[in-house]
Point group: C2
Chain length 252, copies 2
DNA sequence: GTGGTCAACTGGTAAGACCAGTTGGTGCGC
DNA sequence: GCGCACCAACTGGTCTTACCAGTTGACCAC
């Protein structure tokens, strides 16, 4: 029916301006503390209306990348001090489109720290309905494992964690998970390979859900830790490999 | 010289609109999926210019609270699915100004999960300069402990973690820390009491820094865990107390 | 039913003007 | 020379008006 067609990406002017300025700032092409050109000047330089520019600037303020002072000009902030977690997605890719390996490693580390605690809290707080849903996801995973369908397993794994973080009933974890998931989606294709060993652990996932159902927080914690450990190993190995390739052939 | 004077809070129109709409959405006064009135209508309702309104709307888009479609209207999103961690600060306070206890508990839990891993990574990666700075902070803490100055200890504790997260060299932790710190600053005064037992642990902090200097990641992990544990206990106890007071006298 | 057309929405972009703070220089009085 | 008030030239903030560009649904010919 649909020949692999995808929705056309529509980008508004304001988005384009935001992307361009954010990229410049995140790439440190503009030093923190340094003033941005005045809005009138930026309009001319970018060839857009002042309204569109201002909408983009407000988004930069929201993202913690710049600071505006009425009458005093606009200055670039140090995103490492003032930025929020949402920046991760933009930081993951260098301006040249290459994924930033240090950022990828950072994300895996954070995931490894949060996942066990999410599982632990879920075991303590999940409602019976949520446990039923967790079981359903595991059942689907079993089906996707027999004739192994890694991409489906990847989707189900995401779904499992979605349910776990919901069951953990912790809004901070929930919001952080949203950001990590969003970043994850950006490189989903590449990660299906790096995470293969993690995704294949259907049995371990079943044990995790059993621990949650048994309200055994400690065991859920351990199970989750060992599951994501596999993924971290895979990704870190891929990163090391990639780094070696890059240093071996920097001009490739 | 300064009689406790504080900088006047200057809020632009756009900020006020953003605050109002964000509050409405976060308080679920507008259901997710429900359309927002058209920009022209909102202008009239809020009594502001369309430009100012649009700047606010763009910030809401950036925050993951709404979605705009050219020609198709604007709809409210479910912030629990699409929001980023930055929302924490706004969620911490109910519209009536009361802090939301569940959110406070969530933050403490996240902190307890991240802090040990931050310490561990810092032990692995901190530069000699960074370790010197950590030692300097501990020294200041010792000075602030003798005639006990809790508020100063609070500032130094924040500074210590700032240095630790810098040493951990993990951008995801760094950005998450920024958000948590920002939220922390909002209720700093109240937390100085709840966290008193944590802040008094100058000796434990010194041990933590020693572990970092010795490159002993495991010990740093344990030390950090036991330090923040105290704080979590204090805050959770305060929350329980507060919750009892509220349920006991709901109409107070 | 299918497809085309059109009017009435929606958000997106534009240009221009003016208000409101900040900054730095200029010149007066001392 | 120093201190001060003042003013001009910035800066960002707000407003008005208009038009462009997608979306939707009603309507109608086929």
């Amino acid at each position: 029916m649909t020949f692999g067609l995808e929705p056309v990406v529509r980008s508004s002017l304001c988005d384009a301006v935001f992307d361009q300025l954010a990229a410049q700032i995140l790439a440190r092409r503009i030093e923190p503390g340094q003033p941005l050109p005045s809005e009138r000047d930026l309009c001319k330089a970018l060839g857009v209306n002042r309204g569109a520019l201002r909408e983009a600037l407000k988004r930069l303020v929201q993202a913690g990348l710049i600071e505006q002072r009425h009458g005093g000009g606009t200055v670039v902030l140090d995103y490492r001090r003032s930025g929020g977690l949402d920046l991760l997605t933009r930081l993951l890719f260098s301006p040249d489109g290459q994924p930033d390996l240090k950022v990828a490693r950072a994300i895996m580390e954070m995931r490894a720290a949060l996942a066990p605690d999410i599982a632990r809290l879920c075991a303590q707080r999940a409602t019976p309905d949520q446990i039923t849903q967790l079981r359903a996801v595991v059942q689907s995973m079993r089906e996707a494992a027999e004739p192994e369908d890694l991409e489906r397993l990847q989707g189900l794994s995401l779904e499992l964690w979605e349910q776990l973080v919901t069951g953990a009933d912790n809004i901070a974890y929930r919001l952080a998970f949203n950001t990590l998931r969003h970043t994850y989606e950006q490189i989903r294709g590449a990660l299906v390979i790096a995470l293969a060993n993690e995704l294949r652990q259907v049995h371990a996932c079943a044990q995790l859900v059993d621990a949650v159902a048994a309200r055994d927080g400690a065991r859920a914690h351990t199970c989750a830790g060992s599951i994501v450990e596999r993924g971290s190993e895979g990704v870190l190995a891929a990163i090391d490999l990639f780094a070696q390739l890059q240093s071996g052939a920097p001009k490739a």
